[in-house]
C-alpha cells in the first residue's frame, strides 16, 4: 500500500434503518491493485462496493477517489460533482443489468453517445474493439435475451469499459452464472488485471481471488476482519472468523 492510493475509505458507516451494515470500514486501494473482497453473505461486501459507486449513500465516514472526495465525513458534494467523481469507476453487477431493448452494440454505445464522450466513429471503433476483446465480435447485432449468462456478463464488462474507467468494481460477477460459464468471465477479468486495471471484486470465487488478486480482504458483520496477500490469507489466516469462513467455503 502506497500513499498515493486511488481509493481511500475512512470510517465508512452505513445503516439500513436499525440494521448496521457497515461499521467503521476503512481501507486503501493502490493504482493497478486487484483486490478480492470475500466474506459470508450479508457481511456488507456488496453495500461497501455500492457505496463506492454511489448506489448507496453512507451515513458517515469519507471516500476519496483519486484526489477528490465523493463523501467527506458523511457529507456529499453536489450531484454534478458526484457524477464527475463516480464517472472514473465502472461497475459490473451480479445480474448483468444489460438493457434488454437494445442490441449488444447499442448497449455499449448508448452511454458514450449520450455523454458525447467521444466522436461517433471513435465510439463505433471502441465498441468493436471491446467486443473483440471479450470475444463477442459476432454478437453486436444480437439482443441480450439471446445470449448466455457468461456472454451477457462479458457484454456488461465491455459496456462498463466503454466509458474508459480507471477503476472497475465487480459485484459478484459470476454468482448468477452456471459453473461452466464462470471461466469465460474470469478470463476477461484476468486480462483486465494484466492490463493494470484497478479492480475491486466482491466474489465467492476463491480460486479467482487466490490466482488473480494482489490482496484479499475478508469481511464479516460489516467490518474488515483481515486482509493480506492470497498466500497469507488463504495459507495462514490469523483470525478465527476467517479460518471458520475459509473452512466452510474451501
Amino acid at each position: 500500500m502506497t500513499n498515493n492510493a486511488i481509493i481511500e475509505v475512512t470510517n465508512m458507516r452505513k445503516s439500513f434503518g436499525k440494521l448496521e451494515v457497515l461499521k467503521d470500514v476503512s481501507f486503501r486501494i493502490a493504482p493497478s491493485e486487484v483486490v478480492a473482497v470475500i466474506g459470508p453473505s450479508g457481511s456488507g461486501k456488496s453495500t461497501m462496493l455500492r457505496s463506492l459507486a454511489h448506489l448507496e449513500e453512507v451515513n458517515g465516514g469519507s471516500i476519496r477517489i483519486g484526489n477528490e472526495e465523493l463523501v467527506h465525513n458523511g457529507v456529499y458534494p453536489s450531484g454534478g460533482k458526484i457524477k464527475e467523481i463516480t464517472s472514473r469507476m465502472g461497475m459490473v453487477f451480479q445480474h448483468f443489468n444489460l438493457f434488454p431493448h437494445l442490441t449488444v452494440r447499442a448497449n455499449l454505445e448508448l452511454a458514450p453517445k449520450l455523454m458525447k464522450k467521444y466522436s461517433a466513429e471513435e465510439i463505433r471503433s471502441k465498441a468493436s474493439s471491446l467486443l473483440e476483446k471479450v470475444g463477442l465480435q459476432d454478437k453486436g447485432d444480437v439482443y441480450p435475451s439471446n445470449l448466455s449468462g457468461g456472454q451477457k456478463q462479458r457484454v456488461a464488462i465491455a459496456r462498463a469499459l466503454m466509458m474508459s474507467p480507471e477503476i472497475m468494481l465487480f459485484d459478484e460477477p459470476t454468482s448468477a452464472l452456471d459453473p461452466e460459464l464462470t471461466g469465460e468471465v474470469l478470463q476477461v477479468m484476468r486480462q483486465l488485471a494484466d492490463e493494470q486495471m484497478t479492480m475491486i471484486v466482491v466474489t465467492h470465487e476463491m480460486s479467482f481471488a487466490r490466482e488473480v488478486a494482489d490482496r484479499v480482504m475478508f469481511m464479516a458483520d460489516g467490518e474488515f476482519i483481515e486482509s493480506g496477500t492470497p498466500e497469507q490469507l488463504f495459507g495462514s489466516p490469523q483470525h478465527e472468523r476467517t479460518k471458520a469462513f475459509l473452512n466452510r467455503v474451501l
Binding site: L55, G90, F99, P100, H101, M115, N146
Partner: protein
C-alpha cells in the same frame, strides 16, 4: 332477406361507424398521453401531485363510464350559476368523459409497466453516468411501453366496444342505426351486421397491436 336489404341497412350503420371510429381515435390519442402524465404524477416525489393523481384514478375507475358521460352531458349544465357556461356538444362531452376515464386506466397500466422494470436497470444507467432524463427516455420508458403493450391492446379493444355507450346520450353511431333498423323492420339482422362491423374493427386493432408487439420484441 335480400342482399339489397342488407346493403340498405349497412349503409347507415357504416355512416354511424364513422362516429364510432372518430370517438375511438380522439379518446385513445388523448387518453394515452394524459394517462402517462398521471403515471408520472403518481410516481412524483411531490406528494400533493401523487395524492391528486391517486384520487383521480380512484374516482374515474371507481364510477361507471356511463355515469361520467351523463355527468358531462346532462349534469354539468344544471349546476346553478355556472351551469349555463358548461353546456357542451354531446359528442364533445362524451369524448371528454372517455378521455378522462381511459386516462385513469392507462395511468395504472403504465404504472404496472414501470413496476415490472428491475431496479438494476436504473443502477446500470446510473453507473454509466446517465442522468435522470436519459435514464427515463432511453432506458425506462421504451421498456415500460413494451411491457404495457398487451394491456394497452386490451384497453383499446374495450374502448371500441365502449363507444356504443354514445347510444345513451343519443349521439347517432353504429349501434344507434342498428337499433333504429331493428325497430323499424322488425328483424334481427341489423344487430348481426352491427356485430360483424364491431368484429371487423377489433380485428384490425388486434392485428395492429400484434404487429407492434412483434416490432418491439427484443430478441
Amino acid at each position: 332477406m335480400s342482399l339489397d336489404y342488407l346493403w340498405d341497412i349497412t349503409g347507415p350503420m357504416l355512416e354511424g361507424a364513422r362516429t364510432t371510429i372518430l370517438l375511438f381515435f380522439l379518446a385513445i390519442l388523448t387518453s394515452i398521453p394524459l394517462g402517462f402524465v398521471f403515471t408520472l404524477m403518481v410516481k412524483s416525489r411531490v406528494k400533493p401531485l401523487a395524492w391528486i393523481a391517486n384520487v383521480y384514478i380512484y374516482v374515474m375507475r371507481g364510477t361507471p363510464l356511463l355515469l361520467q358521460m351523463l355527468f358531462f352531458c346532462f349534469g354539468l349544465p344544471v349546476i346553478p350559476v355556472i351551469g349555463e357556461y358548461l353546456v357542451m356538444d354531446r359528442f364533445a362531452a362524451a369524448c371528454l368523459a372517455f378521455t378522462l376515464n381511459y386516462a385513469a386506466y392507462f395511468a395504472e397500466i403504465f404504472r404496472g409497466g414501470l413496476l415490472a422494470i428491475d431496479k438494476g436497470q436504473y443502477e446500470a444507467a446510473q453507473v454509466l453516468g446517465l442522468g435522470r432524463w436519459h435514464t427515463m427516455t432511453r432506458i425506462i420508458l421504451p421498456q415500460m411501453f413494451r411491457i404495457a403493450l398487451p394491456a394497452v391492446s386490451n384497453e383499446a379493444i374495450t374502448l371500441v366496444k365502449d363507444t356504443a355507450l354514445l347510444y345513451a346520450v343519443a349521439v347517432p353511431e353504429l349501434l344507434h342505426f342498428a337499433q333504429t333498423a331493428v325497430n323499424r323492420d322488425f328483424t334481427i339482422m341489423p344487430f348481426v351486421v352491427a356485430g360483424v362491423i364491431y368484429l371487423a374493427m377489433t380485428l384490425v386493432l388486434t392485428f395492429f397491436f400484434k404487429m407492434l408487439e412483434r416490432k418491439f420484441k427484443f430478441d
